[in-house]
């Protein structure tokens, strides 16, 4: 395990220190996410698929991080672990200084509700509910009363320029609009991190740009964003790029260095 930490290529010494320090106790509050040796394996009828083989990652508040890597490298698995949707087989995970690994199911539900906003490639909206109701859902589970809920949901939809589409159902909206509803839903409870797994994967390039501008502006407002993407030009929006390969962090670079590497054709 300790070998993993040393070998794990952390981009900056600060990140490495955060991970190493976390061994003893809770990391600094400034670190929204700290993972140490995260492993996720699937037993496919005798054959073990190792999706994550010991991921160390530390992400600070207000960072805008892109996660890249080839298909099957474990990006989605990592996002699901970070989003508390999936439980790792091994390793530790601190969210805002709290150890997630030891949380009960109800506490995990609370974290998903309050701390995490998840944007999926396939939108994952309730098909029969209106945009407004979809955005209201996290507030429903947070126990926010009806009037307050509607107000905040409307506000979130306005933030993604969908104030005029509140009563539309998903099938009455374009792909880009659906993804914006999903973003509004992810944001409505003011999460500490916004996770997006290939949010533009189902969209054409024009719409993708539009969605990226939404993330861009959220990040510039100080929202912590972690986004999985295949497209280098989309990753170019992010200020830090983590590359996964075979379930391990292959590189973790600040954008300036990464851009250079890109120019040299290194990724």
């Amino acid at each position: 395990m300790s070998q993993d930490i040393i070998e794990a290529p952390l981009g900056a010494t600060a990140e490495r220190q955060a991970v190493v320090r976390a061994t003893g106790g809770a990391p600094d509050k400034d670190w929204v996410i700290v993972t140490r040796g995260i492993k996720r394996e699937y037993d496919m009828g005798g054959e073990i698929v190792r999706a994550l083989r010991g991921v160390d990652l530390a992400i600070q508040r207000n960072e805008y991080v892109a996660i890249m890597g080839p298909s099957g490298s474990g990006k989605s698995t990592l996002m699901n672990v970070i989003g508390c949707l999936d439980t790792p087989n091994d390793g530790e995970y601190w969210l805002n200084g709290t150890r997630v690994s030891s949380m009960s199911e109800d506490e995990l539900a609370r974290v998903r509700n309050k701390e995490i906003g998840f944007v999926f490639q396939t939108f994952n909206l309730l098909p029969r509910a209106t945009a407004l109701h979809n955005v209201e859902l996290p507030l429903v589970y947070a126990g926010v009363s009806g009037v307050e809920r509607k107000r905040r949901a409307r506000e979130a939809l306005e933030r993604v320029q969908l104030g005029s589409r509140v009563d539309h159902r998903p099938n009455e909206l374009s792909g880009g609009q659906r993804q914006r509803v999903a973003i509004a839903r992810a944001l409505v409870n003011n999460p500490s991190i916004l996770l997006a797994d290939e949010p533009t994967g189902n969209l054409d390039s024009t719409t993708s740009e539009e969605i990226m501008r939404v993330f861009e502006s959220l990040a510039s407002e100080g929202q912590t964003v972690i986004m999985v993407t295949h497209e280098p030009d989309i990753a170019a929006h992010a200020r830090r790029v983590v590359v996964l390969r075979d379930g391990l962090v292959a590189s973790d670079e600040r954008q300036s260095a990464f851009m250079e590497q890109l120019r040299r054709g290194g990724v």
Partner: protein, 413 residues
């Protein structure tokens, strides 16, 4: 998630799949329909029995000394033979029976039979029940004249040719004239109508308004009891407790008069409204058992159907469950969502069942002499049972749903 929210969601779900929901509800609906219909009819009959039929026939806090019971549903031959062998209650019994009563106790004797009445005003004679009564009869039966008056004391003593008549007799013979002071001819002799009694109503198609009453000593009264046989000596006490004591006193007098040994059973009847209701209570208990068993089958079938539908719903909506969990729904949120949905589904079915049950009961009471009474508590019972069945049927599917792993559920298609 709030309860109202959950119900709203459930109703929405039901509305989206109207037809499927309807079939799901059918079992519960039929069960509750039966329940309500049976409860309404049994309740209606009970009320009718105690208030209308028995109450009319036997006055409150009173008993009647009779040869055989007035309301007789004993089927077996043995009992019938025993009843036929009994001696008549006779005019001569009045004095000793009355002597045994405490002061302040009312009593009245009457003899009744059917005759034809003739009249100057209407040619076709109409059959009527004739009653020769003693003076406290009307008080005990709480019968008041609607027109005219009751018999005066001396008319009981002097045996005047006076009668009071029932509402139906009055309207039949005197459709356009005031019957008071006019005559009816019975067995060739004229009688003057002094009063028309208030309408008494009917029970099981039998009218209580086809009577002609005269003082017992009148020629008509004597005509009625050629051999001195009486239908009944009625005794009414101020309270229910007093009635038991008076009954005991009358029983002893009669047993002595008839020289009954202690081993022998009474060969006369002391009938109260409760004893008349006994047979009905027996029938009622069978009806209630049937009224519970039949709906229970419907409800069990309904519960199984709802459980299946809910299991299908959980399978179909796995992705929805995944989405909800990813947004922070706890196990108990998902559990209550499906439980409420199942309970709402079932309660809607029960509510429809209540409505159809009442309609059914109403229909039965319209096409048959069975009366129906809509009881408010049966509405609550029906709806409550509906909700209960829904919750029971929903527990397993709902717990299956709540146990789903978020990421597995999200991947479902």
């Amino acid at each position: 998630m709030s309860f109202i929210e959950a119900i709203r969601l459930a109703l929405q779900q039901i509305w989206v799949q109207k037809l499927k929901s309807f079939f799901t509800l059918l079992g519960v609906m039929i069960g509750v329909t039966f329940l309500i219909a049976v409860v309404s009819i049994v309740g209606g009959m009970s009320k009718y029995m105690s208030e209308q039929l028995v109450g009319k026939v036997i006055a409150i806090n009173s008993f009647e000394l009779r040869r055989t019971p007035k309301i007789n549903f004993h089927g077996d031959e043995e009992t019938q033979r025993e009843l036929r062998r009994r001696p008549e209650v006779r005019i001569e019994d009045i004095a000793p029976v009355v002597a045994a009563l405490s002061p302040g106790t009312r009593w009245a004797a009457y003899a009744a039979n059917g005759f034809n009445v003739e009249s100057r005003y209407v040619n076709k004679p109409k059959p009527a029940s004739f009653f020769g009564v003693t003076d406290q009869y009307f008080e005990i039966k709480r019968m008041e004249p609607a027109k005219g008056r009751l018999f005066a004391p001396q008319e009981y003593v002097n045996a005047g040719n006076v009668i009071v008549i029932g509402d139906e007799i009055a309207t039949y013979y005197f459709p356009s004239v005031d019957p008071i002071g006019r005559e009816l001819i019975i067995k060739g002799a004229p009688y003057t109508v002094v009063g028309v009694m208030e309408k008494q109503g009917s029970a099981f198609g039998r009218s209580f308004d086809q009577f002609v009453m005269a003082p017992m000593n009148s020629p008509l009264g004597r005509l009625k009891t050629p051999h001195g046989a009486l239908n009944s000596i009625m005794v009414q006490t101020p309270s229910r407790d007093g009635m038991i004591a008076e009954m005991q006193a009358v029983r002893e007098v009669m047993r002595t008069r008839r020289h009954l040994r202690p081993s022998q059973k009474d060969n006369f009847e002391l009938e109260t409204s409760e004893s008349a209701l006994e047979f009905w209570n027996k029938i009622k208990s069978y009806l209630v058992v049937a009224g519970v068993a039949l709906p229970a089958i419907g409800l069990v079938v309904g519960a199984i159907v709802i459980m299946n539908i809910m299991l299908v719903a959980v399978a179909e909506r796995t992705r929805e469950i995944g989405i909800r969990k990813s947004l922070g729904a706890r196990r108990r949120d998902i559990m209550s969502q499906f439980l409420v949905e199942s309970a709402t589904l079932s309660t809607v079915g029960a509510a429809l069942g209540v409505a159809t049950g009442f309609a059914f009961a109403k229909l039965i009471s319209m096409v048959s002499p069975l009366p129906a009474a809509v009881e408010l508590w049966s509405v609550f019972l029906g709806v409550g049972i509906g909700a209960g069945v829904g919750v029971i049927a929903g527990v397993y599917p709902a717990s299956q749903a709540s146990r789903l792993d978020p990421i597995t559920a999200l991947r479902a298609e």
